[in-house]
Subunit: 151 residues, 2 copies
Amino acid sequence: MEADTLELESFLPYRLYRLADAVSREFSRVYKDRHGLTRPEWRTLAGLGQHGTMTATALGEQSAMHKTKVSRAVAELERRRWLTRKPDEKDRRVEHLTLTRAGLTAYREMVPLAKAFERDLLGRLNASERAAVTEGMAALKGALDRSTTQL
Amino acid sequence: MEADTLELESFLPYRLYRLADAVSREFSRVYKDRHGLTRPEWRTLAGLGQHGTMTATALGEQSAMHKTKVSRAVAELERRRWLTRKPDEKDRRVEHLTLTRAGLTAYREMVPLAKAFERDLLGRLNASERAAVTEGMAALKGALDRSTTQL
DNA sequence: CCAAATTGGTTTCGTTTGTAACCATCGAAA
DNA sequence: TTTCGATGGTTACAAACGAAACCAATTTGG
């Protein structure tokens, strides 16, 4: 291989992105085809389903979304009446978000599908491959944290 | 952990996406900050730099981009005079794309930066972690190919 | 107590994206 | 050779996005 050439197919950022995109696209069927949700909306639903009640800021932190994404996702889920906002008593800038019964129903419907998706995907791997996936992701995350922090 | 709850932080599609996004964002400095390129434009440049001459379709296949992305990226690189189009002799629908001297210069400038980025990132890992990354990604890709094909 | 800086969240604006429609050309089949 | 489906590539349109400006409420520091 030539030294002044980059082989895109084996370039880590490219491979990783492509992989994540493919997995994510595949999984998006669960929330997109089924309920017409966008990814931020799905993540918002998942965050609230998991934690019960959260603020928009907390949602953004948990699921790594920009505040504008959170804002729009929350607005849409509210329009669907899948969540409600309750102003904080002490700090009137803050809103506490909670799923409605309808939102919770949708969430509960999707959780098993999400789990099945993950199980199916990992089920195609043998134990050592699964271990490699886990270890590799953790290691990369660690490396990334180290490099990002050092800025 | 409750059975009817999904822990987003450890959910594979989410973790993988987040990881790829972080790596990709970090790397985008190389082409975005430096030359104001978008990702499709960078991939186009990388494809042509690597292969010399390609058609738009081939570019799309190599770097997993939708044809509209390719079309726009090519148009922009042409506007910059970083590539030229040459119509195919036999099939007048097809265009052969080649980097100009200026495009090649930009490419040659970025290749070492890309390699350094990858080397730095992987350099933070020990040998077994690196192996895990490689093996894990290959395994996941395999699993994904198997599931997507089966549709 | 007041001005300035900060924070939670929304809105605006320009850019990027995906889907679908589209145009031109080509190949195969009638 | 004419027609019809497939293919290479572009364009139009609407949705999604990020950055920055913005509003309101809160904290900080003089």
